[in-house]
Symmetry: C2
Subunit: 176 residues, 2 copies
């Protein structure tokens, strides 16, 4: 598939079929995340997969935003956990007020969601959830941060048209 078509295919799926995701497909999706680049190749992340129904439901119940009902439908939820950033990233962040770890997490999340779309799976990135409850459900240490959750499953929603700002509104040439 052409990459731009894959970009168009990927959408936030908020309805899922009642069907488990095969282990090898979950692994393929995570492999695309594993291979993603990061500042200074820090790879300061851990991907925690909740695919045990009981544990996954505990995570789903902690995703209070946007209803959370569809999170319960999804057979898999992946937590992207930020490990301590490398010193150089922390220095950079302090200097520039840019959060390199969050930036890296975004790259990995994009890889994961695009690979899922190619594999016929739906995803939704969730940035609002009760972090403490998710940590408890997945046994994640208190001093780690969960950057985001990604639901994963066979999508049951229709393909939608993307609503985006116009190209000329976003892009400037040689001068802001």
């Amino acid at each position: 598939m052409e990459f731009l078509n894959l970009v168009k295919l990927r959408q936030s799926s908020r309805a899922y079929e009642e069907k488990a995701v095969e282990r090898e497909k979950i692994e393929l999706v995570l492999e695309a995340g594993r291979l993603s680049p990061s500042a200074n190749n820090a790879q300061s992340w851990t991907f925690v997969v909740a695919n045990d129904t009981e544990i996954k439901n505990r995570v789903a119940d902690a995703a209070y935003k946007m209803g959370g009902a569809f999170v319960r439908q999804a057979p898999v939820v992946i937590a992207l956990v930020a490990e301590k950033p490398l010193l150089i990233s922390r220095l950079g962040a302090a200097l520039k007020k840019i959060d390199f770890t969050s930036l890296d997490m975004g790259i990995a999340a994009a890889h994961i969601c695009l690979q899922a779309a190619e594999t016929g799976l739906g995803t939704c990135m969730l940035e609002s959830f009760d972090e403490k409850k998710v940590k408890t459900a997945l046994n994640i240490p208190d001093n780690r941060r969960i950057a985001l959750l990604i639901t994963l499953g066979y999508p049951a929603d229709k393909q939608r048209e993307k609503k985006r700002k116009a190209f000329d509104e976003l892009v400037r040439w040689n001068r802001y």
Copy 2:
């Protein structure tokens, strides 16, 4: 191309051919960025393209880290400028200490670099640079943040093997 092969193909290119990039190829790469998802569909970014040699060189000279010499070689540099995040993102960031705008910027950067790789172009994400100098070169307002720069051009470096942590080191199942 299979997505995972595209992921493997994309690498940080630090050598470029002396060859301009066609306008339509630059636009294709930016289109993949335009279509990328963002928290609450905020799209709080502007992509500033430096492809005028003189202006691009001023940007290159502000990219002090990693030599910066290869940035001068690249015929194009794209600055990803963070606009003010939506209130909901700012509230979320304050609550969770996660920088949603940086996370979104990472997603857009991944889309841009993957599209470039498919188009036969090389990229390198640069997170260390003299932000003030880049702002001056591109006339970017003082109150904006530049999340990162991306070089773009025909790559002159060889394909390298990716060095990444082992799968089992990164991935946990149902328990951290």
